[in-house]
Symmetry: C2
Subunit: 335 residues, 2 copies
């Protein structure tokens, strides 16, 4: 069984998709072709406030381009599939998003992204734009005691950072307050993912790795890489429990605690499956006395067509929940 | 490469997913376990107006349960995967949704659905509830001159019917006006779908049919059945053109016409691929002088994990666009 994509030339894939995104949401955003970035184009797009800019490799859509709009991002910078955008792209997006109140960069912890966002921030500062960065490193599977290592990867908690900081920015929070808020969200959130089937790169016909029928890839990332180990395939309730247990331990969650939960589809996981996973997550947490204050269930941070899911838990601090509930209007998240 | 799902027991799949859906959206809807249906639970849920009820086999999520909420459905009735709900379920959902102003049933044209919704309508009428039905039959691949045949299948145009009639119902339209409006939407819309890979039934490990690497299944439905023929696999622009050409011909679309376009993912089609498809659709229509007034791009009417997409075009009558733009607040569609 070979895999095919709905694609023209793989080299044009991201650029063409950006055009299609803009054509589908002309009232919300504008896609700049070169350097490639997406910027808000709704009626509130010029109102003075701190601007939020994020980005990273493509293939994780709707992240980040689908989160451009009121209450979330002011600009998103897509690289090639699974590759960091350039510092030049990011600098251009900062310029397009800036409204004179400073720019908050939301960066997932990958070497290329960290480097290029940092260069872009420096270039913007030289031009007189205030810039702060929130580094998102929620992937518990990549925790390590290695002092000089790259640290934990950034995955689905980035959605919570963008939503919560985006809402605070709309309410007039300062750049320094937003940087602190983002750091608090990151420190309060952890994620674990598992794959039932690896993803296939655009133009390829076979997944990036093969899984035996009786095993799942545990602690997988969002770039088609191997996870930290294989575990037996089993019913959803066992897989969800196995994925969630280390998160609750790491966050020290227990009786009476409340969380914001993200059950994230990695690409080809059906809505029914994600609903079942959410049921099992609610049951597992309930067994610990942990309540679910808010949930987000769907494909928000994908790894191309990977079959699998991730669980992100964020401690439901009162201000987090209040900002989570604030209005948002983007292609992929609206309430 | 065998397929696995995130599932407990296949027999419990739909019931467990309904629980998970309610737990994720407690402010929007309530899932009744037995008989199974989903009903609005938001603040406006009791306001007098005509109620909209739809349903059908499961496996097409977010359709229909994800469209329960303000501006769309008042209740949705899920059957087992790819199987009609029972008349008893539908009758119960009608009762839960009814607010004394009558109930509009939105029914996709499949033999089981038509029969069971019709029995339920009769039962409700016997109990004094006014009921009208809109039959959705947009799938151009199943057009036939066979007078006694089942007629065209109902597919993604049902989203437009639910959105447009749902908005009109919120504005106070009468039951008979809604039935006429729904009929006009159906008459103005046609759909064609194509599969790059068949879907896999819950608990099974292999897709419902195999496709050779150089062919796609053309005119496919949303139940894992074969399409009307095989066509060569090719670039997205060719596949989109081939799918769209018969629709524009059937609707008589030409220079100066405008449409509402739905580019619908059938399950495992990535957001980037759907964006590329939307770009190619816009270009193809532009070549005919047809403008895209509004677009909806995403997985809205799925066929489990089928890889592929459908194109639905609806003539953009002024009242359709106005009602399309009206507020909607459901798990899967909000603006």
């Amino acid at each position: 069984m070979s895999v095919r994509q709905l694609i023209n030339d793989p080299d044009d894939f991201v650029a063409e998709a950006l055009q299609g995104l803009q054509q589908a949401h002309p009232a919300l955003l504008r896609a700049n072709p070169d350097p490639a970035y997406v910027v808000r184009a709704d009626e509130g797009a010029a109102r003075p406030k701190v601007a939020l800019v994020s980005g990273g490799g493509s293939g994780h859509e709707p992240l980040h381009t689908g989160f451009v709009g009121e209450g979330m991002l002011d600009a998103a910078v897509p690289g090639a599939v699974f590759a960091s955008p350039t510092a030049f792209q990011i600098r251009a997006a900062i310029g397009a998003a800036d409204r004179g109140r400073g720019v908050l960069l939301v960066v997932k912890n990958y070497t290329g992204d960290v480097l290029n966002f940092s260069i872009a921030a420096e270039l913007a500062r030289e031009d007189g734009i205030e810039v702060e960065t929130v580094l998102v490193d929620d992937d518990l599977a990549t925790s390590s005691s290695d002092e000089g290592g790259p640290g934990r990867r950034g995955t689905a908690a980035v959605v919570a950072v963008e939503k919560i900081c985006g809402a605070a920015a709309e309410r007039g929070a300062s750049l320094s307050d937003l940087a602190l808020l983002g750091k608090r969200v990151v420190d309060s959130a952890r994620t674990m993912a598992l794959a039932l089937q690896a993803c296939t790169h655009p133009g390829q016909s076979q997944p990036s790795f093969e899984l035996p029928a009786d095993e799942v890839e545990f602690g997988v990332g969002i770039h088609g890489e191997h996870g930290v180990g294989r575990r037996p395939f089993g019913p959803a309730r066992d897989l969800v429990a196995e994925l969630t247990r280390p998160i609750t331990a790491e966050l020290g969650l227990g009786d009476g605690d409340r969380v914001i939960a993200i059950v994230n589809g990695l690409g080809s996981t059906h809505a029914l499956e994600l609903s079942v996973a959410h049921r099992e997550l609610t049951a597992f947490l309930g067994g610990l006395g942990v309540g679910v204050a808010r949930s987000l269930v769907g494909p928000y941070v994908t790894a191309l067509d990977m079959r699998g899911f991730s669980v992100t838990l964020l401690r439901a601090e009162d201000d987090f929940v209040d900002l989570w509930d604030a209005p948002v209007r983007t292609p992929a998240l609206t309430w």
